[in-house]
């Protein structure tokens, strides 16, 4: 029952993509990745710290490139130009053509700037990037990103770091009805049932970071997220029973020896 997620030429067995931020240390991060079953991990691009670089263990050294595909993001970019620069630097780092493109609107909400995201997607897709575009849940924007060349569209479930879950499943459904590229929910997921619910909508995958990293027990939550992702996917594929007001017995009415 192999059921990989495919994005352009990439193919992954696990539909859960996880981040590398907010962990106590690399060991915790690696233990969570292992427990999550993820094959794709997001990273950010930042200035080398001129004061401390030589001492630190670098994230690049920590990641087993045989096991994990790196998905660099453009977190922290608020303009199209900064996003383009960040993307190009990430490619120069030898991380390949995959890109989690995000252009944020402001530091207060960390919500995406949709038109700038469309514009950056158009340019970077043109430069050969495999763009996974983080966006809001507006179906019109999702379609525009697809038309601009996004390899996958990643609407948020809720604001980054909020843990509120999938605030508007209806919008995700509308996006799915019209999509021709994979839809991955990115951001807002707070706990396992959020992942299961999201996957049951029929999306292709879930990307999350804070939900694992800021749980009381991140490793256990990573395992929870892994199972939830599988659960939601399989439930979607299995086709759920119809809901109705009430009621249908699971045990047969025939053969009862009792009177009533």
């Amino acid at each position: 029952m192999a059921d990989p997620i495919r994005i352009r030429d990439y193919s992954f067995e696990s539909r859960l993509f996880v981040g590398s931020g907010k962990y106590r240390d690399y060991d915790e991060m690696l233990a969570c990745w292992d427990a999550s079953g993820a094959e794709v991990v997001t990273v950010a691009v930042r200035r080398v710290d001129l004061n401390h670089e030589k001492e630190e263990r670098n994230l690049i050294d920590v990641i087993d490139r045989e096991r994990y595909t790196i998905l660099p993001n453009t977190a922290g970019c608020y303009t199209v130009e900064d996003t383009l620069r960040t993307a190009r630097l990430s490619r120069e780092l030898g991380l390949g053509d995959l890109l989690k493109l995000e252009v944020l609107a402001d530091e207060e909400t960390l919500l995406p700037n949709a038109p700038a995201t469309v514009e950056a997607t158009r340019q970077l897709a043109g430069e050969g990037f495999c763009v996974l575009a983080y966006t809001n849940d507006d179906p019109v924007t999702a379609k525009a990103l697809e038309e601009a060349g996004a390899a996958a569209v990643m609407p948020l479930g809720a604001p980054i770091g909020s843990g509120l879950g999938i605030l508007n499943p209806t919008n995700i459904k509308i996006i799915l009805q019209r999509a021709t590229v994979p839809i991955i929910v990115d951001a807002g997921v707070g706990t396992a049932s959020d992942v299961a619910l999201a996957m049951e909508l029929g999306i292709e995958g879930v990307l999350l970071n804070t939900g694992i990293a800021k749980a009381d027990d991140p490793v256990r939550m990573a395992s929870a997220m892994k199972h939830a992702c599988i659960a939601g996917r399989e439930a979607y594929l299995a086709g759920r029973m119809p809901a109705r007001l009430y009621a249908s017995p699971s045990s047969p009415r025939e053969g009862r020896f009792t009177e009533s």
């Binding site: 590398s20 930042r46 001129l50 670089e53 780092l93 030898g94």
Partner: protein, 66 residues
């Protein structure tokens, strides 16, 4: 000669190459990518690229992110 390296003014000797500058701040060239005056400075050209006065150089690496 003064450049701006990662947003901070820095004195460099004339005829310093990008490769020399990078070696000053990291022990593993493969960990970093470089932008010079807002354009990518390809790794293959670091040895031959001489830093100019007033250059804005960004040297970046990976960090944790979501």
């Amino acid at each position: 000669m003064q450049i701006t390296l990662n947003g901070t003014p820095r004195q460099v000797a004339p005829n310093t190459t990008l490769a020399e500058l990078i070696d000053e701040i990291t022990q593993d060239r493969t960990r970093v990518a470089v932008e010079r005056n807002r354009a990518i400075a390809p790794r293959a050209q670091w040895d031959e690229t001489v830093v100019a006065d007033g250059d804005e150089i960004e040297v970046v690496t990976l960090v944790g992110g979501g």
